[in-house]
């Protein structure tokens, strides 16, 4: 059953990216163009997501265990270190260059856009490189 949940959660997430237009790099770049022609929409995507997820997260984690798994499994890493800052800065630079972050990039495979597919290939190569030099943090 948890396999089905993974698929369904992915689908809901993907539809959310389309409706919010985060799937379109132009929309994202409009948000990042704060000192030019600013499109504040993306902040409403985050607000919408957090309004739903934050209170429910705090309720759900009080449960003994998830419905289809033995235990809750997420990082409890609290360290604020150079890796966090440098990694986030590198990500921000790549994000600002094209307007694609991992979720929208992967969803845009559906549109068979050659530009986004090249971006994704490079992104996966980046994942692999970090694994190779095992500088890897566990996902948040």
């Amino acid at each position: 059953m948890n396999k089905l949940v993974s698929l369904i959660a992915g689908i809901i997430f993907g539809v959310g990216l389309v409706i919010s237009e985060m799937i379109n790099p132009e929309k994202v770049l409009g948000f990042l163009d704060m000192f030019g022609n600013w499109d504040p929409s993306l902040s409403f995507v985050m607000i919408g997501a957090l309004i739903v997820s934050s209170p429910l997260f705090h309720i759900i984690k009080k449960k003994e265990k998830p419905i289809f798994a033995e235990n809750f499994n997420y990082s409890n890493n609290k360290s604020i270190n150079n890796q966090l800052i440098i990694g986030s800065a590198l990500f921000g630079a790549g994000w600002g260059l094209i307007g694609l972050c991992p979720g929208p990039a992967i969803s845009s495979i559906a549109l068979l856009n050659i530009h986004s597919i090249i971006f994704i290939a490079a992104m996966f190569f980046g994942f692999y490189l970090v694994k190779l030099i095992s500088f890897d943090n566990k996902n948040t």
Partner: protein, 139 residues
């Protein structure tokens, strides 16, 4: 600063769906959505590989179902050169792995549970993203 193309209603609706996906994944599977982590682990880790691949497959199916049901065409515009796409893809891939999360992992799942680490990460990538666009506009 000029405000342009502002679509608060669809942005909030889409955001609510994204939040719902995070809640479903957490309630049933006990995991927090972080797409850079899910994608990287699908590539490099055996643990939960099939779950991760199915989530990614869902991300791709979502837009297809949306188009089928609403008959709306999804248009995206990317006009960058192949070199800059490769460069940016590498930055995103490497950066999100070093920092342990992206817009979803730090920006939504992390901030949602009030993780200071994720708040710092999100502020950092937002500021650098904004600066990158600012610099691009000057070039």
């Amino acid at each position: 600063m000029n405000i342009v193309n502002f679509t608060p209603v669809t942005a909030t609706l889409g955001g609510i769906l994204i939040g719902l996906a995070v809640v479903v994944f957490f309630l049933f599977n006990g995991r927090l959505v972080g797409i850079s982590g899910i994608a990287a682990n699908a590539l490099t880790e055996k643990n939960n590989r099939f779950d991760n691949i199915l989530f990614l497959l869902g991300l791709v199916i979502g837009p297809i179902l949306y188009s089928l049901f609403t008959k709306n065409e999804i248009n995206i515009t990317i006009s960058n050169s192949f070199i800059s796409l490769i460069f940016a893809g590498l930055l995103v891939g490497i950066g999100t792995r070093i920092s342990g999360g992206c817009t979803s992992g730090h920006g939504i799942s992390g901030i949602g549970r009030f993780s200071l680490r994720s708040i710092v990460a999100t502020i950092t990538f937002m500021i650098v993203g904004i600066l990158t666009v600012l610099i691009k506009n000057f070039l």
